[in-house]
Amino acid sequence: MLDFIVTFINGLSLGGIYAMIALGYTMVYGIAKMLNFAHGDIIMVSGYILIVFMGITGNIPLSILISIFFAGMFGVLMEKSAYMPLRGASPLAVLITAIGVSYLLQSVAQMIFGSAPKYVVIANLGSVNLFGLSIQLYKIITLAVTIVIMVVLSLFIKFSKTGRAMIAVSEDRGASGLMGIDSNKIISITFLIGAMLASVACTLYFLLTPNINPTFGAKPGIKAFTAAVIGGIGSIPGAMIGGIFLGIIECFSNSIPVLSPYTDAIEFLILIILLLVRPTGILGKKRKEKV
C-alpha cells in the first residue's frame, strides 16, 4: 500500500512536468493551429541557458529566472523567424518546418556543447516526512508549481484582455482580425508563454534528473505531445489532465517488473485505445473543419 502511494505521488509529480510542457503544445495548436514539434527542444535550449548562466553568475535562483526569460524570447524568435513567414502556407509545410527547427536546434546544441551528457545539480532538497511517508521535497514543489501555474494561466485566459483575445483568435482568426485583434501579436504571446512554461518544466526536470544532452528535449516533448492529445489538443485543462494521467501510467508501469520494459508501448497503446473511443481526446471539442 505504501509503495502504491509513493508510486502515485511520483506519477503526479512526473505528470505535472508533462502537463507543463503539454500546455505549450496545446496552446500553440489551439491558437496558431500548428504542431510545434520543436517545443521539446526549447526545454533543452532552456537547460543549456541555465547551465551557462549558473557558470557565469553562480546564483541559481537568478539563473533560473534568466533562463525562463531567455527561453521565452527564444520562443518568440523561433516563431518570428521560422513560422511567421509560413502563415497561410499549407499545414504540412509548417509541420515539416517545425521538425526541421527541432533538428536544427539539436545539431547547433551539439556543436556548441558537445554530445556528451552534462550533469547538473541545481538543488539538493532532501525529503520531508508526511503521514509516515518520506517524500522528496522536489516532488511537492513540482506539484505545487504545476497547480499554481495552471490556476494562474486559466485566470489569465479567462479574465485578461490578452487572454480573451487568445480565445477569440483560436475560435476564428479572420473574425478576430476584423474586431481589431492583432493575431500575429497574439500568436507571439502564445509562443512566449509556451516557451516560458517549457523553461519552468526544464527547471523542475533538473530537480528530478541531473543529466542533459542535446537530444534531452525530444522524449519529454513526445510524451507531452501524447499527453496533450490524450487530454484533447487545444484544451488547457485537457493538457493538464492528460499530462498527469500519462505520468501516473508511466510510473505504475515502471514499478511492475513485467511491464517496465514495455512502458512506452503501453503509454502509446492507451493513446490509441483512447482515440478509438474518443477521437477528440478526454476534453477535446468536436468542431467542423472547413474543407
Binding site: N10, Y119, T209, C251, P257, S260
Partner: protein, 389 residues
C-alpha cells in the same frame, strides 16, 4: 603540348615513386624475427587506449627478447594507427601483412576489430585482442579475446558474487535497459548464473530509454536491496544513483560492468555525493598493491609514466605473453615454429596450444580460453568509490 607531356611525366614519376616505396616497405621482414602486428588509435580521441596497448606490448616484447626470444628468434611489434576508424583497418591490415606479420593483437577498439576479424579470416591469421569486447569478435576460429566479452560479464559478475558473498547476506537487485543488446545480454547471463538458492530471488527493474529522465519507480522497486547490479552505461547509472541516494540504504553496493568505467569522469558529477559504494567488474586493478599487477604497474610507470596506465595496456601485456607461452609449448612439443612458418600454420599451432594453455598474468590467474575464443579468468571488483563512513 610540351606542358602536357611534362604533366604526364610528373604523374608517372609519382606513380613510380609510390610503387618503389611500397615495394621497399614490404621487404622489412627477412624472416629472422616474429612480427606481432596491431592496429589501434595511436592518435585522436581514443589514443589513450591505443598508446597503452602499444607501450605495454612493446614492454612485453623487450622482456621476452631479453630472455633470448624463442627458438633463437626475437620478437618485434609493429603498430599501425587506425584512429578508432573501421575504414582505416583494411589499409593497416595490408600494410602489416606486407611487413611480415606472423600473428596479431587485432585491434584495440571494438568497431575496428569487427573489421579486422573479417579481414583476418581468409588468411587464417591468429589474433588475440586485448580490449575489443564485442561478443562477435572471436566469431571465427582464428580470433581470441583477452578481455571479457560484453555479455559474458554477466556470468563473471554472478560468479564473483556467488563466491565472494555469504549465503543470505545479500538482497540482490538488477537494473538493466530493456531492448539494448549490451545491457540485456549481460542481464540474461547474470540471471542464469547467479546462485538463487544462496541469495534468494533477484529483484528486477528495467527501463527502455537511452537516457531516462525518471528512474524513481525503479528505485522504489529496488529500495530494499543491498547489492544492485547495474549492467548499464554510466549516464543512466548516474541518474539512478542520484535519484536513489536518499532511498536506497547507504550500505548498498552498486556493482556494474565496463559500462560504468568512466563514471568518475562525468562533467559536473561528484561521485562523493553518492553515499553508496560504486564498483565495477574488471580484470585489472590499477591500484593493486600485490602480485603481478603490482609488478606491471611499477615497470610501466617507471618507463611510461602514469598517464596511459589502464586495463587496455595490462591486457595487451598479457596477450603478448599468451602468444609467447603458447609458442614455447609448441616448440617444446617439437613443432616447427619459425617466422618463416606460414601464417595459417602458425594459427593452427596456436589454436591447438590455446586449448590447453593456462597461465598467470597481470589481468588474472589461471587465464585460459574456451573453444570459441572467449577468455576464462578470475574477475576482480574495482571499487571506484568506497561507501561513505
Amino acid at each position: 603540348m610540351k606542358k602536357f607531356f611534362t604533366k604526364i611525366n610528373l604523374v608517372l614519376l609519382m606513380v613510380v615513386a609510390l610503387f618503389t616505396t611500397s615495394v621497399l616497405s614490404g621487404c622489412k621482414n627477412k624472416g629472422n624475427e616474429f612480427v606481432i602486428g596491431m592496429s589501434g588509435p595511436l592518435t585522436g580521441g581514443a589514443a589513450v587506449y591505443g598508446l597503452a596497448v602499444q607501450k605495454s606490448a612493446e614492454m612485453a616484447v623487450e622482456e621476452i627478447n631479453a630472455l633470448g626470444g624463442l627458438n633463437g628468434y626475437k620478437f618485434k611489434l609493429v603498430a599501425t594507427d587506425d584512429m578508432h576508424d573501421p575504414s582505416k583497418v583494411s589499409t593497416n591490415y595490408a600494410s602489416l601483412m606486407k611487413q611480415g606479420m606472423n600473428f596479431s593483437l587485432g585491434c584495440v577498439t571494438t568497431k575496428p576489430c569487427l573489421e579486422f576479424k573479417n579481414l583476418s579470416k581468409d588468411d587464417n591469421l591468429f589474433f588475440i585482442t586485448p580490449s575489443a569486447t564485442n561478443d562477435s569478435v572471436p566469431e571465427f576460429a582464428n580470433g581470441y579475446q583477452m578481455c571479457f566479452a560484453d555479455t559474458k560479464q554477466g556470468t563473471f559478475s554472478a560468479q564473483y558474487i556467488n563466491s565472494n558473498y555469504e549465503a543470505g547476506s545479500l538482497t540482490i537487485g538488477v537494473l538493466y535497459r530493456a531492448g539494448d543488446d549490451y545491457s540485456q545480454g549481460i542481464y540474461q547471463n547474470f540471471i542464469d548464473a547467479i546462485d538463487t538458492t544462496k541469495f534468494g530471488n533477484v529483484v528486477v527493474a528495467s527501463f527502455n530509454e537511452e537516457n531516462p529522465s525518471s528512474l524513481e519507480s525503479q528505485v522504489q522497486s529496488l529500495k530494499n536491496c543491498t547489492l544492485v547490479f547495474l549492467p548499464i552505461y554510466y549516464t543512466p547509472a548516474s541518474t539512478f544513483m542520484t535519484q536513489a541516494k536518499d532511498i536506497i540504504s547507504p550500505n548498498c553496493v552498486y556493482f556494474g560492468c565496463d559500462g560504468l568505467d568512466g563514471i568518475d569522469g562525468i562533467q559536473g558529477f561528484d561521485i562523493n555525493t553518492i553515499p553508496q559504494e560504486i564498483s565495477y567488474l574488471s580484470h585489472f586493478n590499477s591500484n593493486a598493491t600485490t602480485g603481478l599487477a603490482k609488478e606491471f604497474i611499477d615497470k610501466y610507470t617507471a618507463k611510461n609514466g602514469k598517464d596511459t596506465l589502464n586495463q587496455f595496456g595490462a591486457s595487451a601485456y598479457d596477450c603478448v605473453y599468451a602468444i609467447y607461452n603458447a609458442l614455447k609449448k609448441a616448440v617444446e612439443a617439437g613443432k616447427n615454429v619459425t617466422p618463416k612458418t606460414s601464417v595459417s600454420e602458425l594459427c593452427e599451432i596456436l589454436k591447438e596450444e590455446f586449448k590447453t594453455l593456462s597461465f598467470n598474468g597481470v589481468t588474472g590467474n589461471n587465464i585460459s580460453w574456451d573453444s570459441s575464443g572467449f577468455v576464462n579468468k578470475e574477475a576482480v571488483k574495482y571499487i571506484v568509490k568506497e561507501k561513505n563512513s
